[in-house]
């Protein structure tokens, strides 16, 4: 196996992926006699259930039973933070697709026939759809969370320019290729094994145990791998596992649930759309003096993870810029759509986009280059080094990273070439945009920053490792194998990574917040180090110098004293066993020194920040609004990468996913709350041909991060926001269709239609009215 710590190499399951032998939850038909479980979805978005008649459903050939809220032996209510979501509707429905009952049948076909024959009567109410309707109806899940500092009144008084407006960012479907899936197998003596495609096995264990009214020790959740998660399986895998478990408990047979794409898209939550009202004050040099921003997110019908998503948005409104006076305030709206949930960036992209739009619009109004405006406003030396919530931006890499990116991407010369090109073209215009990224790393609920591991060494020198993280394509297992092999000094193929399971590593946090390798890596390393401590005296004996045990090192499959004499790891392990020394250890890690108090809006929510920068160039067709991303240059900070090629994959993949969010992916609900875009035929994620024609990705060199295992940094989420550069580039191109000085009005997502609208707006209203005030 190629690779190893800090070395490029393939994904640990690459050979399984390409041969079709990598097994996912839904690939397992279950043991003989496994039944299929299908929720009965609410056909309306809001109302009361007046009657439910199950008789004709039960008469369908192959249907075993139909379970309703009355059939739940334990707790019908669950929820990742607030305990307030019914697994099965209890008289009231809050969104179209909400599970009212579950049909348990021999086959999927009979389950579907049964579900269609459940007769329901409702008293319908008008659903609340969209943020504006929720604000009008005063429908909120949360009270305002406020972060503020500085003298806003003075800032706006002294401003030479004030702009105000609205920034809206759209929803985004996760479109993990593998839809939600779970298999529940009853074991002897009242136990259950649950196989789930989840990012949060412990949550599955808890929800299943509570629903069945049994202790958590009776439930084991196993996660072989996920066909993509992106946050969509952090909380929302739980109901489907619970349905399978409830059916298994009722029938005594293994039961599985699995959603088709249309069901998955219609029934599960998405990235939160945000609407932000802002006012921003600038001085004559374009320096930001003050920002007031009121953020509203569409939480959907329940809170789910919307609270911390909103928090992270508020933490990232500053983006990479020092804002002396600021007040950001956020609330979660309550609407009648599926509960919006975690999605890569977790509110961060939505918060950052607010500030980036403010800067883009201010640059238009001032007639300055938006890249230049961004650079002027960067965080810098004290006192320009403190975030609005009071955390000092330590080890800021942007001062080093941005000049290097500008030079390597040949920014200045290309900017001039684009201007020349645009002067010679009527229908086609090009534009260029820059996006810096500063992204805070840690779960903002600080207690979640903990992880465990379990490592076994066998007497032949081979190793099994278990940790609490889930593998969903991000390469966590590849990194964990490399960490264990490097720590123990054995070959990669001497290490086997075991299926993630709650009976091996308990009480885990979700694999989320980009934290998987930081937290689990430290736990795996800790377990390995504990075992090595036990092995050192044994190795020293075998090497003939018992007194030198502290000098023993482990590398190349051997234990060493100095460079001359080595003894094979297997021999050391066997000797340890013979001396009745344990070859197994747990490991545990908790992030030190972080915490945040939302009541005062102050604290250190983040252990550290990850940084990055992107330059994007686009070409726009002024006749149709179609465009292509011609070139993207990315320089990203992953510290000293644990697995550089895996990290490059995260950077590129995150960038393209971010592009999808802002360009082609449009989630549409009807006024009745019906999802109109429920499959890839109507919901367009980027395809191969949409990706940048030229993509240059580099990882920042000599960027060791002493806070984290191996000097690395988290990489899952931060690159997502690099894609905002595409929007700045589009705006740059669109602007040239009109006269200078007008503010480009580009709606999100920037579909060809949105771009053509913005172009037409530029053509017609080349001197747009804007709110200018001179102080």
């Amino acid at each position: 196996m190629a690779g190893g710590l800090h070395k490029p190499g393939p994904h640990e399951s690459a050979h399984l992926h390409v041969t079709g032998s990598a097994k996912y939850v839904a690939d397992d038909p279950g043991p003989q006699g496994t039944l299929f479980v299908l929720p009965v979805p609410s056909p309306i978005a809001r109302g009361r259930i007046i009657s439910m008649d199950l008789r004709s459903a039960l008469a369908v050939d192959g249907v075993h039973c139909v379970l309703t809220v009355d059939d739940i032996p334990g707790d019908n209510i669950w929820g990742p933070i607030l305990h307030n979501e019914p697994l099965l509707a209890d008289g009231v429905v809050h969104y179209m697709g909400q599970a009212i009952a579950i049909v348990v049948a021999e086959t999927e076909h009979s389950a579907r026939c049964g579900a269609q024959r459940v007769e329901l009567e409702f008293e319908e109410q008008t659903p609340i759809i969209g943020i504006e309707s929720a604000i009008a109806a005063n429908a909120f899940h949360t009270d305002p969370h406020i972060i503020e500092r500085g003298d806003l009144e003075a800032a706006f008084e002294s401003a030479s320019m004030v702009i105000d407006g609205v920034v809206e960012t759209p929803a985004q479907d996760h479109f993990y290729l593998e839809t939600q899936a779970a298999l529940a197998i009853p074991e002897e003596n009242g136990g259950y094994t649950i196989r789930s495609s989840t990012q949060h096995p412990t949550e599955i264990q808890k929800v299943v145990a509570a629903a069945l009214g049994i202790g958590a020790h009776h439930v084991v959740c196993e996660v072989p791998r996920l066909g993509g998660g992106f946050g969509g399986k952090e909380s929302q895998a739980s109901p489907y596992a619970a349905y399978a478990a409830l059916a298994a408990a009722r029938t005594g047979r293994p039961c599985r649930s699995w959603l088709h794409r249309g069901q998955d898209m219609a029934w599960t939550g998405k990235r939160h759309p945000f609407r932000t009202d802002y006012e921003a004050a600038f001085d004559e040099n374009g320096m930001i003096l003050g920002v007031i921003a009121r953020l509203y997110s569409d939480g959907g019908w329940s809170l789910d993870l919307s609270g911390p998503v909103l928090d992270r948005a508020l933490f990232h409104v500053d983006s990479s810029y020092f804002i002396p006076a600021i007040r950001v305030e956020g609330r979660v709206c309550s609407t009648n759509i599926p509960s919006n949930t975690a999605f890569r960036g977790f509110g961060g992209p939505q918060g950052m986009f607010v500030m980036e739009e403010i800067l883009n619009r201010a640059a238009d109004a001032m007639g300055v280059d938006s890249t230049e405006l961004r650079r002027r406003n960067f965080y810098g030396e004290a006192p320009r080094d403190t975030a609005p919530y009071g955390q000092v931006i330590e080890a800021n890499r942007l001062p080093q990273l941005v000049p290097q990116l500008m030079e390597e991407s040949n920014y200045a010369a290309r900017k001039r070439a684009i201007e020349q090109f645009n002067q010679t073209q009527q229908h086609v215009k090009r534009g260029i945009g820059f996006q810096p990224v500063k992204f805070g790393i840690s779960f903002t609920a600080s207690l979640l920053n903990q992880a465990g591991a379990l490592v076994h060494v066998y007497t032949d020198g081979t190793v099994q490792i278990n940790h609490g993280g889930t593998e969903m394509g991000q390469g966590l297992h590849t990194k964990m194998i490399a960490v264990a092999a490097d720590t123990l000094g054995v070959k990669l193929d001497a290490v086997r990574l075991m299926t993630t399971a709650t009976d091996k590593v308990p009480n885990t946090s979700a694999t989320a917040a980009s934290s998987g390798s930081d937290l689990n890596g430290a736990a795996v390393q800790g377990a390995c180090l504990t075992i090595l401590e036990r092995l050192r005296p044994i190795a020293a004996q075998l090497l003939g110098d018992e007194a030198a045990s502290t000098s023993v090192t482990f590398r190349d499959g051997c234990a060493w004293l100095g460079h001359e004499s080595g003894v094979p790891f297997a021999k050391v392990a066997t000797a340890a066993w013979a001396q009745q020394i344990s070859l197994s250890s747990t490991g545990y890690y908790a992030t030190p020194g972080i915490g945040y108090d939302p009541s005062i809006g102050r604290g250190r929510p983040f252990f550290y920040y990850a940084f990055g920068g992107a330059i994007s160039e686009v070409e726009v067709n002024g006749l149709t609004g179609e465009y292509r991303v011609r070139r993207v240059d990315i320089l990203h900070d992953v510290g000293n990468p644990l697995a550089p090629s895996i990290d490059v994959g995260q950077v590129e993949g995150g960038f393209v996913q971010g592009m999808g969010w802002l360009t082609c992916e449009a989630v549409l609900y009807s006024p009745q709350g019906r999802l109109l875009t429920h499959g890839p035929s109507t919901y367009k994620i980027p395809a191969a041909g949409d990706t940048p024609l030229e993509l240059n990705v580099s990882l920042l060199r000599d960027a060791d991060n002493p806070l984290v295992i191996g000097g690395s940094k988290a990489v899952g989420e931060p690159p997502f926001m690099l894609a905002i550069s595409v929007i700045s580039a589009l705006r740059d191109a669109i602007r040239t269709f009109g006269k200078p000085g007008s503010i480009v009005e580009l709606g999100m997502p920037a579909t060809p239609e949105a771009v053509l609208r913005a172009i037409e707006h530029q053509r017609i209203e080349s001197t747009a009215g804007m709110d200018k005030r001179h102080g």
Binding site: G227, E652, L695
Partner: protein, 486 residues
């Protein structure tokens, strides 16, 4: 009669299955779970498999979506899945390239990509960047951002190794006739026209060719069909042949084969086919299916209208010719929303396209939310001939997505016919477009967008026809990646 499929080189008997079971369902039920379901509507490619088929130049491997191919369509045929590629000597080059270029992350889309790359391995015509994009545009990946997968494709495209898959191309695959009934559903694949007419007399028929549209009725709308008749095996259906002043194109010609043919025969048709569904869909979908589907947003219909094509309609003992375009009291081939001029007992046998007048300029344009593998907001095809004095002698303006049927802009055409082509006559004529069409709002585009784009496409076309610069966007992928440099 035994019904079997040759799966990964082994003949596998198919037990009692519903005639509308998809190949994907059957594979997964049979234990071949390497092939994944990502959407069951042919739009993500996770279910891609290889099918040995007859190509225009002999036997060929095609990548197809197993999620919308019916099991009886595969009877007697050779298919290969991701599990069947590796051999004792190691991974197939398509698999190895995906490993080497780090083309998999979560791995769920990977089997589908591997099978699209498998087809590419044996293709000899992957000679341009757009064809490379086209080869994998039917496979969605949510993890990688595609760059490594594209590199894997470039690594193996056209490599044509000598192996058991290339050896399979030595003999023309036999595609047997089928008559399969289970329960109240029956699937018939006749090999003679006479058998077709007999089968059609047995009741209400739904015709099927590639099942790329019908498949969705089954997987998304769970419909059942008493009688399905597959037209793909009938003599002449898959042939393209010269006629007096043009060509006859069989209704069963696959879009991928039409695309290859049009490269050297019809630039405007070829341009449309370039952004026409994915490789997997084009490998199953047919000319006749796209035309008889009668969708107002189909992509071939505007081309038929602009090229003055004629439908060749056959019934038991008779054949008639119906121009696609309306003329006088004849409403043309598309008579109303999703309705054609085909009568009971009739099938579309083919189309006839005449050679363009040497001085005619024709072009096609398609605008959609996403460039590849998306349904049009507006699709269009235009043909223009000026006489020696620069006066418009012939003009055909056709749109999809602007009305309930694919339609010509007859009033706009009339405005320009006999006029000299100038900025002012063009702008004057474009104003008339709103009299020809009142487009609608939907999730693919608003009425405003459709109307604006239709006018702009026409502007662009006239500019192009008069020798102006063609407004196209570049398609060449390049780039450098840090990890590759190490």
């Amino acid at each position: 009669m035994d019904h079997s499929i040759i799966l990964n080189g082994k003949q596998v008997k198919v037990g009692d299955i519903s005639p509308t079971m998809t190949v994907l369902e059957w594979l997964r039920q049979t234990g071949f779970t390497g092939t994944k379901e990502g959407c069951a509507e042919g739009d993500c490619g996770a279910c891609t498999i290889g099918l040995l088929d007859q190509g225009p130049d002999g036997p060929t491997w095609r990548a197809i979506c197993s999620c919308i191919m019916l099991v009886p369509q595969a009877f007697g045929r050779q298919i290969v899945t991701v599990e069947g590629l590796a051999s004792d000597s190691g991974l197939h080059p398509a698999q190895q390239a995906m490993v080497d270029k780090l083309g998999s992350q979560c791995g769920y889309c990977t089997p589908g990509f591997v099978m699209s790359l498998f087809e590419a391995t044996y293709r000899s015509d992957l000679d341009s960047h757009w064809k490379m994009d086209d080869q994998i545009c039917g496979n969605l990946c949510r993890c990688t951002g595609y760059r490594p997968i594209r590199e894997a494709l470039y690594e193996i495209a056209g490599r044509q190794p000598t192996d058991r898959f290339s050896e399979a191309l030595d003999a023309l695959p036999e595609i047997p006739a089928v008559d399969y009934q289970r329960g109240d559903q029956r699937f018939v694949r006749p090999e003679k026209w006479g058998d077709l007419w007999t089968a059609m007399s047995d009741g209400p028929v739904r015709f099927v060719s590639g099942a790329t549209d019908l498949g969705l009725d089954i997987t998304q709308r769970f419909m059942a069909f008493p009688l399905l008749i597959d037209l793909g095996l009938l003599p002449g259906m898959r042939e393209i042949s010269p006629i007096a002043d043009g060509w006859h194109i069989g209704a069963g010609v696959l879009l991928s084969d039409l695309e290859a043919w049009s490269e050297t025969h019809s630039a405007s048709l070829g341009k449309m086919l370039r952004f026409f569904a994915s490789r997997q869909i084009k490998n199953r979908a047919t000319v006749g299916g796209n035309l008889c589907n009668a969708s107002p947003i189909g992509d071939l219909p505007p081309v038929m209208l602009a090229l003055n094509a004629v439908a060749v309609i056959r019934s038991s003992g008779a054949e008639r010719r119906q121009p696609f375009a309306p003329s006088g009291s004849d409403p043309g081939f598309w008579t109303a929303y999703r309705t054609t001029a085909l009568q009971d007992g009739e099938v579309l046998a083919g189309i006839e396209i005449s050679e363009l007048h040497p001085s005619t300029y024709a072009s096609t344009y398609k605008v959609s939310k996403r460039r590849e593998l998306d349904i049009s907001a507006v699709s269009s095809a235009f043909a223009l001939r000026l006489d020696e004095s620069g006066v418009v002698a012939d003009l055909r303006i056709a749109f999809g997505g602007m009305a309930a049927t694919p339609a010509r802009a007859l009033k706009t055409e009339a405005k320009l016919l006999g006029q000299p082509l100038s900025q002012s006559t063009i702008e004057e004529a474009i104003k008339t477009l709103k009299d020809d069409f009142s487009p609608i709002d939907d999730h693919r585009g608003t009425a405003w967008y459709r109307a604006t784009v239709a006018a702009n496409l026409l502007r662009g076309f006239f500019e192009e026809a008069q020798g102006g610069v063609r407004v196209t966007l570049p398609d060449r992928p390049t780039g450098t990646i840090f990890a590759e440099k190490n």
